[in-house]
Symmetry: C2
Protein backbone atom coordinates (compact mmCIF):
# COMPACT_ATOMS: atom_id res chain seq x y z
CA UNK A 1 0.00 0.00 0.00
CA UNK A 2 1.59 3.27 -1.08
CA UNK A 3 1.06 6.59 0.66
CA UNK A 4 -1.08 7.66 -2.25
CA UNK A 5 -3.59 4.91 -1.57
CA UNK A 6 -4.29 6.05 1.99
CA UNK A 7 -7.06 8.38 0.99
CA UNK A 8 -9.54 7.87 -1.82
CA UNK A 9 -9.14 9.49 -5.20
CA UNK A 10 -11.72 12.20 -5.05
CA UNK A 11 -12.20 12.41 -8.80
CA UNK A 12 -13.02 8.73 -8.98
CA UNK A 13 -15.68 8.99 -6.31
CA UNK A 14 -19.12 8.25 -7.71
CA UNK A 15 -20.98 9.02 -4.50
CA UNK A 16 -22.44 12.37 -3.53
CA UNK A 17 -19.44 13.88 -1.77
CA UNK A 18 -21.35 15.34 1.16
CA UNK A 19 -23.07 12.05 2.03
CA UNK A 20 -20.10 9.82 1.24
CA UNK A 21 -18.54 7.43 3.72
CA UNK A 22 -15.30 7.51 1.77
CA UNK A 23 -12.54 9.80 3.06
CA UNK A 24 -11.41 11.79 0.02
CA UNK A 25 -9.87 15.03 1.31
CA UNK A 26 -9.56 17.79 -1.25
CA UNK A 27 -6.08 19.31 -1.31
CA UNK A 28 -5.79 22.65 -3.10
CA UNK A 29 -3.62 23.50 -6.11
CA UNK A 30 -0.57 23.73 -3.85
CA UNK A 31 -1.32 20.35 -2.26
CA UNK A 32 -2.61 21.75 1.03
CA UNK A 33 -5.81 21.52 3.06
CA UNK A 34 -6.72 23.91 5.92
CA UNK A 35 -7.01 22.34 9.36
CA UNK A 36 -9.13 23.83 12.15
CA UNK A 37 -7.89 22.66 15.55
CA UNK A 38 -10.33 22.63 18.46
CA UNK A 39 -9.92 21.77 22.13
CA UNK A 40 -11.25 18.34 23.14
CA UNK A 41 -12.05 19.69 26.61
CA UNK A 42 -14.40 22.52 25.70
CA UNK A 43 -14.64 22.82 21.91
CA UNK A 44 -12.70 26.11 21.85
CA UNK A 45 -11.07 27.14 18.58
CA UNK A 46 -7.30 26.89 19.13
CA UNK A 47 -5.57 27.45 15.79
CA UNK A 48 -5.71 27.03 12.02
CA UNK A 49 -2.84 25.46 10.10
CA UNK A 50 -2.28 23.51 6.88
CA UNK A 51 -1.53 19.88 6.05
CA UNK A 52 -0.33 18.26 2.88
CA UNK A 53 -1.08 14.60 2.18
CA UNK A 54 1.99 13.41 4.07
CA UNK A 55 1.31 15.57 7.14
CA UNK A 56 -2.21 14.18 7.29
CA UNK A 57 -0.82 10.66 7.05
CA UNK A 58 1.73 11.40 9.83
CA UNK A 59 -1.06 12.83 12.00
CA UNK A 60 -3.22 9.75 11.54
CA UNK A 61 -0.33 7.32 11.98
CA UNK A 62 1.17 8.94 15.09
CA UNK A 63 -1.93 10.42 16.77
CA UNK A 64 -0.14 13.75 17.07
CA UNK A 65 -0.68 17.01 15.18
CA UNK A 66 1.66 17.33 12.17
CA UNK A 67 1.45 20.25 9.73
CA UNK A 68 3.12 21.73 6.69
CA UNK A 69 4.68 25.12 7.34
CA UNK A 70 3.99 27.36 4.35
CA UNK A 71 6.55 29.95 5.49
CA UNK A 72 9.36 27.49 6.23
CA UNK A 73 8.29 24.93 3.60
CA UNK A 74 8.84 22.01 5.93
CA UNK A 75 7.00 19.49 8.08
CA UNK A 76 6.22 20.67 11.54
CA UNK A 77 5.31 18.46 14.47
CA UNK A 78 3.39 20.73 16.80
CA UNK A 79 5.29 21.07 20.06
CA UNK A 80 8.55 19.58 18.72
CA UNK A 81 10.50 22.50 20.19
CA UNK A 82 8.00 24.05 22.63
CA UNK A 83 6.71 20.81 24.15
CA UNK A 84 3.19 22.03 23.38
CA UNK A 85 2.13 18.84 21.64
CA UNK A 86 -1.31 17.87 20.46
CA UNK A 87 -2.82 14.45 21.11
CA UNK A 88 -5.44 13.77 18.47
CA UNK A 89 -8.78 12.69 19.93
CA UNK A 90 -10.83 12.83 16.74
CA UNK A 91 -10.46 13.87 13.10
CA UNK A 92 -13.43 15.21 11.18
CA UNK A 93 -13.99 16.61 7.73
CA UNK A 94 -16.63 18.99 6.41
CA UNK A 95 -19.44 18.53 3.89
CA UNK A 96 -17.31 19.03 0.77
CA UNK A 97 -14.18 17.55 2.35
CA UNK A 98 -11.98 20.57 1.73
CA UNK A 99 -11.35 21.31 5.43
CA UNK A 100 -10.12 19.05 8.25
CA UNK A 101 -11.10 19.47 11.90
CA UNK A 102 -8.64 18.14 14.46
CA UNK A 103 -10.01 17.70 17.97
CA UNK A 104 -7.03 17.58 20.32
CA UNK A 105 -5.83 17.39 23.86
CA UNK A 106 -3.55 20.43 23.75
CA UNK A 107 -0.58 20.53 26.11
CA UNK A 108 0.01 24.16 27.14
CA UNK A 109 -0.41 26.81 24.48
CA UNK A 110 -1.56 26.21 20.92
CA UNK A 111 -0.29 29.66 19.89
CA UNK A 112 3.38 30.53 19.34
CA UNK A 113 2.75 33.65 21.47
CA UNK A 114 2.25 31.26 24.39
CA UNK A 115 -1.47 31.90 24.55
CA UNK A 116 -3.83 28.96 24.70
CA UNK A 117 -5.60 29.98 21.46
CA UNK A 118 -4.36 31.99 18.46
CA UNK A 119 -7.66 33.88 18.41
CA UNK A 120 -6.99 36.26 21.31
CA UNK A 121 -7.91 39.55 19.57
CA UNK A 122 -11.37 40.95 18.94
CA UNK A 123 -12.11 43.33 16.04
CA UNK A 124 -13.70 46.54 17.31
CA UNK A 125 -15.35 49.08 15.05
CA UNK A 126 -14.80 52.71 15.90
CA UNK A 127 -12.69 55.31 14.21
CA UNK A 128 -11.30 52.71 11.85
CA UNK A 129 -10.87 49.16 13.13
CA UNK A 130 -8.90 48.30 16.22
CA UNK A 131 -8.04 45.02 17.86
CA UNK A 132 -8.82 44.52 21.51
CA UNK A 133 -7.09 41.72 23.39
CA UNK A 134 -9.56 39.24 24.91
CA UNK A 135 -9.48 39.79 28.63
CA UNK A 136 -8.59 43.50 28.26
CA UNK B 1 -13.33 57.20 3.28
CA UNK B 2 -12.89 54.57 0.61
CA UNK B 3 -13.43 50.86 1.11
CA UNK B 4 -9.69 50.38 0.90
CA UNK B 5 -9.12 52.45 4.01
CA UNK B 6 -11.30 50.25 6.21
CA UNK B 7 -8.50 47.94 7.17
CA UNK B 8 -4.88 48.85 7.71
CA UNK B 9 -2.23 48.29 5.07
CA UNK B 10 -0.42 45.30 6.44
CA UNK B 11 2.84 46.06 4.69
CA UNK B 12 2.97 49.53 6.24
CA UNK B 13 2.52 48.17 9.74
CA UNK B 14 5.59 48.79 11.87
CA UNK B 15 4.30 46.92 14.92
CA UNK B 16 4.89 43.26 15.68
CA UNK B 17 1.91 41.75 13.88
CA UNK B 18 0.94 39.30 16.62
CA UNK B 19 0.85 41.97 19.34
CA UNK B 20 -0.63 44.71 17.17
CA UNK B 21 -3.85 46.52 17.99
CA UNK B 22 -4.27 47.43 14.32
CA UNK B 23 -6.61 45.28 12.25
CA UNK B 24 -4.64 44.36 9.14
CA UNK B 25 -6.12 41.14 7.76
CA UNK B 26 -3.93 39.23 5.33
CA UNK B 27 -5.77 38.30 2.16
CA UNK B 28 -4.10 35.63 0.03
CA UNK B 29 -2.92 35.94 -3.59
CA UNK B 30 -6.51 35.54 -4.78
CA UNK B 31 -7.77 38.22 -2.39
CA UNK B 32 -9.38 35.81 0.07
CA UNK B 33 -9.07 35.04 3.77
CA UNK B 34 -10.43 31.87 5.43
CA UNK B 35 -13.18 32.37 8.00
CA UNK B 36 -13.89 29.91 10.82
CA UNK B 37 -17.46 30.27 12.04
CA UNK B 38 -18.31 29.17 15.58
CA UNK B 39 -21.54 29.04 17.55
CA UNK B 40 -22.00 31.86 20.08
CA UNK B 41 -24.06 29.51 22.27
CA UNK B 42 -21.53 26.74 22.83
CA UNK B 43 -18.37 27.46 20.82
CA UNK B 44 -19.06 24.60 18.38
CA UNK B 45 -17.32 24.74 15.00
CA UNK B 46 -20.05 25.36 12.44
CA UNK B 47 -18.41 25.97 9.06
CA UNK B 48 -15.41 27.37 7.20
CA UNK B 49 -15.85 29.78 4.29
CA UNK B 50 -13.92 32.59 2.59
CA UNK B 51 -14.25 36.37 2.52
CA UNK B 52 -12.69 38.94 0.26
CA UNK B 53 -12.19 42.51 1.45
CA UNK B 54 -15.68 43.57 0.40
CA UNK B 55 -17.40 40.58 2.06
CA UNK B 56 -15.57 41.37 5.30
CA UNK B 57 -16.72 44.97 5.01
CA UNK B 58 -20.33 43.86 4.37
CA UNK B 59 -20.16 41.53 7.38
CA UNK B 60 -18.92 44.30 9.65
CA UNK B 61 -21.33 46.89 8.28
CA UNK B 62 -24.46 44.69 8.39
CA UNK B 63 -23.72 42.42 11.36
CA UNK B 64 -24.58 39.39 9.22
CA UNK B 65 -22.32 36.72 7.70
CA UNK B 66 -21.32 37.56 4.13
CA UNK B 67 -18.86 35.43 2.14
CA UNK B 68 -17.28 35.08 -1.28
CA UNK B 69 -18.27 31.88 -3.05
CA UNK B 70 -15.20 30.46 -4.79
CA UNK B 71 -17.28 28.03 -6.85
CA UNK B 72 -19.87 30.56 -8.00
CA UNK B 73 -17.51 33.56 -7.92
CA UNK B 74 -20.10 35.77 -6.26
CA UNK B 75 -21.02 37.34 -2.94
CA UNK B 76 -23.11 35.19 -0.74
CA UNK B 77 -25.16 36.38 2.21
CA UNK B 78 -25.52 33.32 4.41
CA UNK B 79 -29.20 32.36 4.63
CA UNK B 80 -30.30 34.60 1.73
CA UNK B 81 -32.23 31.69 0.21
CA UNK B 82 -32.42 29.19 3.11
CA UNK B 83 -33.28 31.68 5.86
CA UNK B 84 -30.39 30.26 7.85
CA UNK B 85 -28.84 33.63 8.59
CA UNK B 86 -25.96 34.41 10.91
CA UNK B 87 -26.03 37.28 13.38
CA UNK B 88 -22.48 38.29 14.17
CA UNK B 89 -21.75 38.45 17.90
CA UNK B 90 -17.99 38.91 17.69
CA UNK B 91 -15.19 38.96 15.10
CA UNK B 92 -11.70 37.80 16.00
CA UNK B 93 -8.47 37.32 14.12
CA UNK B 94 -5.52 35.06 14.83
CA UNK B 95 -1.91 35.78 15.75
CA UNK B 96 -0.68 36.44 12.21
CA UNK B 97 -4.01 37.86 11.03
CA UNK B 98 -4.45 35.45 8.14
CA UNK B 99 -7.62 33.83 9.50
CA UNK B 100 -10.89 35.40 10.72
CA UNK B 101 -13.10 33.87 13.40
CA UNK B 102 -16.77 34.77 13.25
CA UNK B 103 -18.77 34.04 16.40
CA UNK B 104 -22.43 33.93 15.40
CA UNK B 105 -25.98 33.32 16.48
CA UNK B 106 -26.84 30.77 13.80
CA UNK B 107 -30.47 30.43 12.74
CA UNK B 108 -31.14 26.78 11.88
CA UNK B 109 -28.44 24.92 9.99
CA UNK B 110 -25.02 26.30 9.08
CA UNK B 111 -24.50 23.47 6.57
CA UNK B 112 -26.16 23.28 3.15
CA UNK B 113 -27.03 19.64 3.98
CA UNK B 114 -29.36 21.06 6.63
CA UNK B 115 -27.14 19.91 9.48
CA UNK B 116 -26.25 22.33 12.23
CA UNK B 117 -22.49 22.00 11.54
CA UNK B 118 -20.60 21.08 8.35
CA UNK B 119 -18.31 18.85 10.42
CA UNK B 120 -20.66 15.87 10.84
CA UNK B 121 -18.30 13.09 9.72
CA UNK B 122 -15.52 11.45 11.68
CA UNK B 123 -12.46 9.87 10.02
CA UNK B 124 -12.05 6.24 11.09
CA UNK B 125 -8.95 4.22 10.45
CA UNK B 126 -9.44 0.58 9.50
CA UNK B 127 -9.05 -1.15 6.20
CA UNK B 128 -8.39 2.18 4.47
CA UNK B 129 -10.14 5.26 5.83
CA UNK B 130 -13.88 5.53 6.23
CA UNK B 131 -16.14 8.31 7.37
CA UNK B 132 -18.59 7.69 10.15
CA UNK B 133 -21.48 10.09 10.60
CA UNK B 134 -21.53 11.70 14.05
CA UNK B 135 -24.45 10.18 15.90
CA UNK B 136 -24.15 6.88 13.99
Amino acid sequence: MTDESHFADRDALDEKIDESRVFAPKFDDTGLIPVVVTDADNGQLLMVAYMNREALKKTIDTGEGWYWSRSRQEFWRKGATSGHTQKVVEIRTDCDQDVIQLIVEQTGAACHTNRRSCFYRIVKKGDGFRLEFAGD
